[in-house]
């Protein structure tokens, strides 16, 4: 693969125009801001202490009615020294998707739990805790999901390293 060019047709990075949904969320005045990065669906960003309030509003308000937490995960932004928590909300009645993004510091990764809003959040948060070490405040049962209870470190962090990581032995000829 000597040529490292971008495939023709790939657009230059351009932010999506703000959709109606994002505008109406910003109008709620719940400290939500438009998403800074590039996303392929309506997206907002909130500070961590305003998260629970916003999510509760989005779930309960019939205008939005995001009744399903379709996906929740974290992205390790090592160069900015933050974890980006990503919540993909989905509204079954309005068939709308929304990304809610929260930045939390890597050295004190604590976020409020939203397992009171969507039940599945309890387990999606456990997965994030297991792999990233994000602690969820008020979580009813915060423990490892995939790894053993006494596992050291959080494997999906970019700076994770352990002695068992696979290195391929060189082949003798």
């Amino acid at each position: 693969m000597s040529t490292s060019d971008i495939i023709p047709g790939t657009p230059v990075n351009e932010p999506l125009p703000q959709s109606e949904l994002v505008k109406s969320i910003l109008a709620l005045d719940l400290r939500a801001a438009p998403y800074e990065g590039n996303a392929d669906c309506p997206a907002v960003q909130v500070p961590v202490d305003g998260l629970l309030k916003l999510l509760t509003k989005l779930r309960r308000d019939p205008e939005f009615n995001f009744d399903m937490l379709s996906s929740h995960t974290a992205v390790d932004r090592l160069e900015q020294n933050v974890f980006e928590l990503v919540y993909y909300l989905y509204s079954l009645t309005k068939q709308k998707r929304l990304l809610v993004s929260v930045l939390i510091p890597r050295d004190n990764p604590v976020a409020p739990t939203c397992s009171g809003i969507w039940k599945i959040a309890e387990w999606q948060e456990r997965e994030v805790y297991d792999l990233f070490g994000v602690c969820y405040d008020g979580h009813p049962d915060l423990r490892r999901v995939f790894l053993e209870d006494d596992w050291q470190g959080f494997p999906l962090r970019k700076d994770y390293h352990d002695d068992f990581m696979l290195t391929r032995e060189p082949i003798e000829s």
Partner: protein
């Protein structure tokens, strides 16, 4: 009499928000909850449903033609794999016995698991890179076909051989090329130009091919003796 008025479900529409979706609604079986007559009907229907199932299994019992078992080791002679079957990786050779691979490394880069290792060398005559050794590790191959897709020279193919089980992991490290030296395309080019053909052909070094069930570099393994032929090639 059936459990259901129809097992096909009820056709209808359902609303998801403002979206109308054409649905089929699951039927519910009639139960024998109320009334003694209903209860007897339920018992009757139950027995009937059991007999119906027994009819199906009996139908298969009395028709030996429905047996689908393949007697595998016995049918080896007639067993034919599909033409795209991903059996084992092989190098292709042209009619004169020269391989098409020129050691360009594309397959190694495309491989997600580091399964392919290419050792290339520089030809003394033509001063072009060429293949020294093509190592394929069946033990870590996931048969994803990425190497064939990446290969620009159609130098790789899948053999239809699917019996690759061995008793030792080390036996799964294959060396695929039978010689180290110029690929078919280089020979052809030289023949076209009418120069250095013999000198180029003379650079061909024989390589022991390991295409399965031969220990890596011929070392002895428990139950597998060391290969005599290997001794000369072993460093």
């Amino acid at each position: 009499m059936k459990f259901f008025d129809s097992t096909n479900g009820v056709i209808g529409h359902k609303l998801l928000g403002e979206l109308t979706i054409e649905v089929v609604v699951a039927p519910r079986a009639r139960t024998g909850s109320a009334g003694i007559a209903n209860w007897f009907g339920y018992v009757y229907r139950s027995i009937l449903s059991l007999l119906k199932g027994m009819k199906i299994t009996l139908g298969y019992l009395i028709r030996p033609s429905t047996v689908v078992t393949q007697q595998y080791p016995e049918n080896r002679a007639t067993l034919k794999m599909f033409e795209r079957f991903r059996g084992q990786l092989r190098l292709t050779y042209d009619d004169n016995g020269y391989m098409r691979c020129n050691g360009c490394n594309f397959c190694e880069l495309a491989c997600p698991n580091g399964t392919i290792v290419i050792k290339a060398r520089r030809n003394a005559v033509s001063n072009m890179t060429e293949l020294d050794q093509f190592i394929w590790r069946l033990d870590s191959c996931t048969f994803c076909n990425a190497c064939l897709q990446a290969c620009p020279h159609e130098a790789l193919e899948w053999s239809k051989d699917f019996e690759a089980a061995v008793y030792d992991r080390r036996l799964l490290v294959y060396a695929l090329n039978k010689y180290a030296g110029p690929p078919a395309i280089a020979i052809k080019r030289a023949e076209k130009k009418q120069e250095n053909v013999e000198a180029l052909k003379a650079t061909v070094d024989s390589r022991k091919r390991y295409e399965g069930k031969v220990p890596l570099a011929g070392v002895a393994l428990p139950g597998v003796p060391a290969l005599e032929m290997e001794a000369e090639n072993r460093e």
